[in-house]
């Protein structure tokens, strides 16, 4: 005879070990189960809550699976056109230099259609945080090749595997922008293991602290899975990420 407890009853029993930040709404996440986007959202919001800056923060959702980030992140949000989030962030920051501004962007958004906006916002050292979810694919549109897609990796627009001669190499944009003097902090993190989640959160916190201290652009890349796009189970996709993505996109601080 199993008894089904409500969350309140569980908490009453003194077993509360985790509480969802109130900066995440109660809306059901639209992400596929096991997708890294949800974790990345949560730790970003936890940082804002812990730093006590949520009410002075304006976030920017991209075009991509996280286009609805504003449904989940419980703060003031703007939704930007595909790739233009760093320009939108610039616009906000130039009229409100003392508010916190961050973009949340996928690899297609940040490193393909929005490369120009990315590089120039970084080059100006816009005092913003860029959270960059690199899942090596266009998740939202159904698994097409992204600029970060690995050599030989299959996608719906590289059905025989990415042909480097035809489509170029996986782009390491975080390393690229790390070279710019405007960027004070560039780091690559992941969120598929608890220890890595803790590290990623620390990195995001450091990025917002940089913004508070007016140090310039901070970019936090999060290598993430896209189990739907990669056509794998969530568990398999995390293994695949470790074995294939991380050798090309190694974790750790690149600058700062």
């Amino acid at each position: 005879m199993s008894e089904i407890l409500t969350p309140e009853e569980i908490i009453k029993k003194g077993t509360l070990v985790f509480k969802k930040t109130k900066l995440m709404t109660d809306a059901n996440l639209s992400y596929c189960p096991g997708c890294g986007h949800g974790v990345a959202h949560r730790i970003t919001m936890e940082v804002l809550e812990e730093m006590g800056i949520a009410e002075q923060t304006i976030g920017i959702a991209p075009v991509g699976c996280s286009v609805l980030a504003y449904d989940f992140m419980n703060i003031d949000m703007q939704q930007a056109a595909h790739g233009r989030a760093p320009a939108v962030a610039t616009g906000i920051k130039r009229v409100f230099p003392d508010k916190y501004v961050f973009t949340y962007q996928g690899d297609g958004d940040l490193a393909a259609i929005g490369t120009n906006e990315t590089i120039h916002a970084c080059n100006r050292g816009e005092n913003i945080v860029i959270i960059f979810i690199n899942n090596g694919i266009y998740g939202m549109t159904g698994g097409q090749m992204a600029p970060t897609t690995l050599a030989g990796m299959k996608s719906s627009t590289s059905p025989y595997g990415r042909d480097l001669a035809m489509t170029g190499h996986p782009i390491k944009i975080t390393e690229m922008v790390a070279m710019l003097p405007g960027v004070c902090y560039a780091t690559r993190q992941a969120v598929h293991k608890p220890a890595l989640v803790r590290k990623a959160k620390k990195a995001i916190q450091k990025a917002f602290e940089n913004q508070r201290d007016k140090k310039g652009t901070s970019i936090v890349e999060i290598v993430s899975n896209c189990n739907s796009g990669w056509k794998m189970t969530p568990v398999d996709s995390n293994v695949w990420l470790e074995e294939n993505m991380l050798p090309v996109f190694p974790l750790g601080d690149i600058k700062g």
């Binding site: 109130k22 900066l23 709404t25 949520a54 009410e55 002075q56 923060t57 304006i58 920017i60 959702a61 286009v67 609805l68 504003y70 419980n74 703060i75 003031d76 949000m77 703007q78 939704q79 930007a80 056109a81 233009r84 320009a87 939108v88 962030a89 610039t90 616009g91 906000i92 920051k93 130039r94 009229v95 409100f96 508010k99 120009n116 906006e117 590089i119 120039h120």
Partner: protein, 360 residues
């Protein structure tokens, strides 16, 4: 505290933006409007009023910077010329869809493609009929003098905030590059954050508690809701059509023939009226000041009293379609215009009127 200066149209736009208390200008150089950002950089309005000025990496970036600033309830503007305005269409559609106020200036040059840098009015369709994707409207003001370049900055922001809608000032290389006397307005203070909160706090993203948070978006995944949103936009557009039509009638009393022209062509046509008088012809002019909403009713009513209408524009015939729709077949409507950067002279307009309307 009005001040009279001799200024280029482009300079007048720039100075007027400072005096209007604009919070941010984002631009990218292109002839024939580069004087706007050049003037601002020289003038350093960030020292005068705190207005931010930034040379963006592209017109795409510039319009998206406007989006970000406008979504904060700030007065934001950008300017460009035709090829750059084409790049801004995506952003304009997003701004219209998200119902953000802003002012965009197009100092039109000849096209298509890279075209020429000389004056043109061939961006009428793009400006008035949409340009970007989706069912949206820009409120379009067409200045015909340097004075109006200055005045329409204020008018533009008033309309933009009244309706939460992007406003386009549709000028051209002629109005942008020429110098005329201009009476500058007194300096308005920029709004403080508290003032913005009072006026626009119900929608602007200023940083808020979660319970009261604001979202600026043009996305609505459910088509039923997107249709509702469109209904709201359409209702707003009907209001604009009802309240904001502006035009000027020149010499229309007892005119036998009517010219319809806006902006630089309207200036040229005023000389044509004088030349016609010397030949004993009685010619009137209706000058649309708002291109959207278009003064259809005024043109419809004027059509009863004249023998024919010539639409004059620096294009192969764009506004003429709206004139024909307005006239609805009551009298003959023809088009005349040089294009590709060529400018028709007042004499050429008169000959066209004689050939296509009076003789035809």
């Amino acid at each position: 505290m009005e001040e009279v200066k001799l200024m280029k149209g482009n300079e007048a736009i720039a100075e007027a933006s400072i005096r209007e208390g604009v919070d941010a200008y984002f631009g990218y150089p292109i002839t024939p409007q580069s004087e706007v950002i050049e003037y601002l950089m020289l003038e350093e309005p960030y020292k005068r009023t705190g207005m931010a000025v930034l040379q963006a990496e592209s017109e795409i970036a510039a319009i998206n910077m406007v989006y970000g600033a406008a979504a904060c309830g700030k007065k934001a503007m950008t300017s460009s010329s035709s090829p750059g305005i084409s790049l801004k269409q995506e952003g304009l559609s997003y701004i219209a869809g998200s119902e953000l106020p802003c002012v965009v200036v197009n100092v039109v040059r000849g096209g298509p493609g890279l075209g020429t840098i000389q004056p043109s009015q061939a961006d009428y369709f793009q400006t008035v009929k949409g340009g970007g994707h989706g069912d949206y409207r820009l409120i379009v003001l067409a200045p015909a003098s340097v004075q109006e370049m200055s005045d329409f900055v204020e008018d533009g922001f008033n309309l933009a905030f009244k309706y939460r809608n992007p406003v386009m000032i549709l000028s051209d290389g002629l109005i942008g590059q020429m110098m005329e006397k201009v009476k500058l307005k007194a300096q308005k203070p920029r709004l403080t954050e508290n003032e913005i909160r009072e006026r626009y706090g119900d929608w602007a993203t200023l940083g808020n508690k979660s319970e009261n948070r604001k979202i600026i978006t043009s996305l609505e995944l459910k088509p039923e809701r997107q249709e509702k949103h469109n209904d709201k936009l359409q209702a707003k557009y009907r209001e604009v059509e009802k309240n904001e039509v502006r035009y000027e009638k020149i010499n229309c009393e007892n005119a036998d023939y009517l010219l319809v022209a806006y902006g630089s062509s309207a200036r040229i046509c005023q000389k044509t009226i004088q030349l016609g008088k010397e030949k004993g012809l009685n010619i009137g002019l209706i000058r649309p000041i708002t291109l959207w909403p278009f003064p259809s009713k005024a043109i419809y009513e004027a059509a009863d009293k004249v023998k024919g209408i010539l639409a004059v524009e620096l294009s192969a015939g764009q506004m003429v379609e709206d004139v024909r729709l307005a006239v609805n077949g009551k009298v003959k409507v023809e088009h005349f215009g040089r294009y590709g950067g060529m400018i028709h002279s007042p004499d050429e307009v008169l000959s066209a009127l004689e050939q296509k309307i009076i003789g035809g």
